[in-house]
Symmetry: C2
Subunit: 710 residues, 2 copies
Amino acid sequence: MAEDRVLRVRTLLDAVRAAGRTALTAPEGKVIADAYGIAVPGEELATDVDEAVAFAARFNGPVVMKIVSPDILHKTDAGGVIVGVQGAVDVRAAFREIIENARAYAPEARIEGVQVQELLPQGQEVIVGAVTDPTFGKVIAFGLGGVLVEVLKDVTFRLAPVDADEAVSMLDSIRAAEILRGVRGAQPVDRWAIAEQIRRVSQLVTDFPEIAEVDLNPVIATPEGAVAADIRVILSEGEMKQRRTYTCAEMLTSMRRLMQPRSVAVIGASNEQGKIGNSVMRNLIDGGFSGEIHPVNPKSDDILGRKAYKSVTDVPGEVDVAVFAIPAKFVAAALEEVGRKGIPNAVLIPSGFAETGEHELQDEIVAVGERYGVRLLGPNIYGYYSTWQDLCATFCTPYDVKGGVALTSQSGGIGMAILGFARATKTGVSAIVGLGNKSDLDEDDLLTWFGEDPNTQCIAMHLEDLKDGRAFVEAARVTVPKKPVVVLKAGRTAAGAKAAGSHTGALAGDDAVYDDILRQAGVIRAPGLNEMLEYARALPVLPTPKGDNVVIITGAGGSGVLLSDAVTDNGLKLMEIPSDLDAAFRTFIPPFGAAGNPVDITGGEPPSTYEATIRLGLEDPRIHSLILGYWHTIVTPPMVFAELTARVVAEFRERGIEKPVVASLAGDVEVEEACAYLFERGVVAYPYTTEKPVAVLGAKYRWARAAGRL
Amino acid sequence: MAEDRVLRVRTLLDAVRAAGRTALTAPEGKVIADAYGIAVPGEELATDVDEAVAFAARFNGPVVMKIVSPDILHKTDAGGVIVGVQGAVDVRAAFREIIENARAYAPEARIEGVQVQELLPQGQEVIVGAVTDPTFGKVIAFGLGGVLVEVLKDVTFRLAPVDADEAVSMLDSIRAAEILRGVRGAQPVDRWAIAEQIRRVSQLVTDFPEIAEVDLNPVIATPEGAVAADIRVILSEGEMKQRRTYTCAEMLTSMRRLMQPRSVAVIGASNEQGKIGNSVMRNLIDGGFSGEIHPVNPKSDDILGRKAYKSVTDVPGEVDVAVFAIPAKFVAAALEEVGRKGIPNAVLIPSGFAETGEHELQDEIVAVGERYGVRLLGPNIYGYYSTWQDLCATFCTPYDVKGGVALTSQSGGIGMAILGFARATKTGVSAIVGLGNKSDLDEDDLLTWFGEDPNTQCIAMHLEDLKDGRAFVEAARVTVPKKPVVVLKAGRTAAGAKAAGSHTGALAGDDAVYDDILRQAGVIRAPGLNEMLEYARALPVLPTPKGDNVVIITGAGGSGVLLSDAVTDNGLKLMEIPSDLDAAFRTFIPPFGAAGNPVDITGGEPPSTYEATIRLGLEDPRIHSLILGYWHTIVTPPMVFAELTARVVAEFRERGIEKPVVASLAGDVEVEEACAYLFERGVVAYPYTTEKPVAVLGAKYRWARAAGRL
């Protein structure tokens, strides 16, 4: 059956192509709809009155009847259209009336018969469509129909194909989702029928990549079903470009040697201060890299006390990574030598390629890389850090705080912001990688590696585009169940996308598509640079919550209100506190304090009140996460609060009870030290903000849900 | 005319009240609609066929005709309703048919005639309503009609009454505003006719405070007009509580003595460390207050080296402020003495009043205050700072960085966060004031004062509720044209509002109402605590932009993209760079750099490139604001960038050219020092974030628009 339908559509599309058309006619659309079981109004050509009665009976409801004659163009003027005919008697009468009217209108007309078409019922209009996105390929769209929704742009997207469950999830992803479930006593529409339309359209465009667009607009959804009033199909003009792909095993092999090298060559190493080749050498040495470091420079024998080689081919033994610190115009030739030497990775720091309009130069090095099987990082990057290897292959400054987050950036400026932020906050890092022009290695390679890397607990990526959105989604789907993936997608807005265009020549996809598809892949999207950095810093520190029950314990009632706002803003839920637990909290707080949630212990309380309530919050298995609101007082100074909180949390961790604990510290400048103390001990704490700690907890929950941990 | 209509409605409402009803009947609604010129379908009772024809002719379109008989309840069953009748012939026929049908259906029925009612045309359904908000009183609402909008909650609010311009502005304040202007070739509806319905309803509820709710639902809007299909009017059950109000002059007199006192008494002053009365004394002394400080304590003669008095009545001379540092139960008695002494201001630090359920105790002190004309700040506060007076009347720590922002907070915890943030960032402050329970003095008093205070350039307020939303809006409307007012409204979300309820017993109004009305008052709403603090720090530093043209100059292309996103997110517009200006920028940047906007000077550029492009940005009068994206490189280190930027900005300021300049610094930790340097010199600069500098600029623009400066 499936093959048969493919054959039918293939034959049709070939004929359309052969006719030099890209837009299909309505009857051609109907052929495709029928082949894929996309419900459209039934229609038949009745050549006599008995056929008309039979067809109408089959449609089991009112029909529209229309004269079919090549000589009558204005059917209505000819009295050749009757709407809403039902029952044999009326169908007979209508058939005769139409024929008579037509004869009267144009006595010479050739009459082929009367078209009998199902009359669509009143119902909720929805739109089902498929488009070809430059980043993600075939993408399926769903939204409510009608002009209002067009204005409000309430549409959701998924990668095609979608299965039935995914299709039905689209119905809940629009803002007006409630409509379809029936509001004000209206009956709900047949959700599965709509989902089936979505699924079938998604299968159609998957089977036929040359179909650029499909529109079912509108689909009339009723409690009994969903029928497309109209199907529009457009074929693509050209071919989609195919990108070279690598298997997961291939990626991992080269990435392992890149991130855990034993031997690194620096092409363009230099003794001259201020040169990139000097900075890279210094950072490798000062960073403490314990593997071999081989400077390559045709004009020196010794660089920073190490033997230098004229050519990388002269370097003894196996080399894992060649770091390039030479002008763009010399890169291709040096890369040839890297290829001949069998080095699997080239880190191309130089700029002066596609980003400055030198596309040919970039194409040339890509060709060399492909010929020799050398994977390219960059060009136009600051280099990369692999902290657990003490490897700083960059012209920036060394970084040595080992930890769980791997950060990547497409832009050098953002890379520097990552470095500065990490240093300022002592963020524990497993790697920082510049991607630059992404001539070869890109986010999916890195995701695949960091997903496997045991030193990496969280991956945070700044990106302006994706060369291959599907490969990224595939890599994300494999990685997300293991560890959080945070993405800062720059060029979200029209203005941002325009800037991206002039910056990298990258085509920034429509953000609504990115947003839905990244979410579908389980990626945590950071709204801005600072959020990406904060998530990167905090997510590896926080344990994974085991349930949805969030409790706020606060000394400052005012913080409690703001923290509650933040809880809602971040899609979290304040636990409804059961009465026994409420009573338990009340034993620790003053009579005028408020139990419930937030638990308001009030401002003047001693350390013991904070400690007792935090203990209860960690102890009770019905509570899954704690948000603490601290208020600086003489009775409980900041460091006292920090010490007791860290101690209690550590004690419970030793007992195997790990819950996310975040804190907002309101107080004088001493709270900054207290926050740093807490952060280092696994409590995500911020001064002067009630938003950030909850935003981070929200990000952890989003990941936990995407990873199926909740 | 106006008096006549008021009389008619007054008579009607009195009758309804007298009948013990709160809901008006449809005919009563029609009387009110007619009195206020609210367009509803015309209807008349025709007692004979000629009357029917005349009425129908007057309505000038199709009509609905209905039997009117006290004995026929089910008009349709009786064949007593005919819809869509038009023209004398049809009206005659319909009249007769209805009468005949009625006679046949119920031969004994008393027939009063046939109602002839205008048939409403097809059109866009909208909703116009008025409600009585506990914070803001009469509030008028507008939204699109229909179930979809109900689901999407696309409604906008204004304080009643509104004038015609304000009413029409409501049409543009809904998300689906475009619909009313006509989309997909549809004709626009008569916007002024809708606005007129809004205006009239707002006048009605203003004239009659006892009308709790009015609903015109739906109003049918067409290109020719807007007619309410239905009007529903509900009267309030009880009386609205009136709050005591003060004139502006009264407020200013007491506020001046509070904020610029010459003599302060501390009731409960103490020599004992750890006591609030000790901390307050120390802070007054250590803060350097140059006026008189009089400790009051019945048990001491000398406190911290100053003569102590048994009672405040013993203090010699005039006293401007009495600071209370005694337990709640002693406050009322001491306040009596303050009143007798003629002290105009009592600063009530003690807690233990309404916030702990002690409402009677609070009512008692309010009564004492009113009796003597003593204005009360608090109770349940940390006190207040008036930095230009070196006055720290608080139990917290002194603060001495004088500057332009006045901050207030309802919560003590948030007050501590304000203090810590201000100290950490060296924010220049004119005052920090705790409002606590707001038993008397509240935000409108403070707004009125700070609006006049020449030391204050910006006012930032944390609040959980407003005792009198209208008084606040009035004060804001007077203040905003002079200086920005930033508000952090806690309890935005249902969860937050619930926490507010349990914290202060305050009724947190519906946030949609707050949001629209605060915006209407020109207030800049901060989405969170940290944003409030950042706006407070930055707004007084930034000059007011003179136009909408924003230009990004960036060394990091990646920052340029993110900054562009932030520009759109914050409602700003990237200037379309004219070709001559584009050419001028190009003379300074490498050939592969991107002019346009962002101006991407590329990463490796020397200080001179930053300087030349910033100069051009300041020089060209078509550019109104600059956003700088700095990328840390060896060629242009952070402090070099900071120094050149500050120098150029200062030079232009001396020449009288003042434009807002904000900067995002991407780099290693040295950028933090560079940001502090820039901030102190009037360039709002942040490290590791592309969002904050633009958010602050956006806030300045929002204010400039609200203040009519743009």
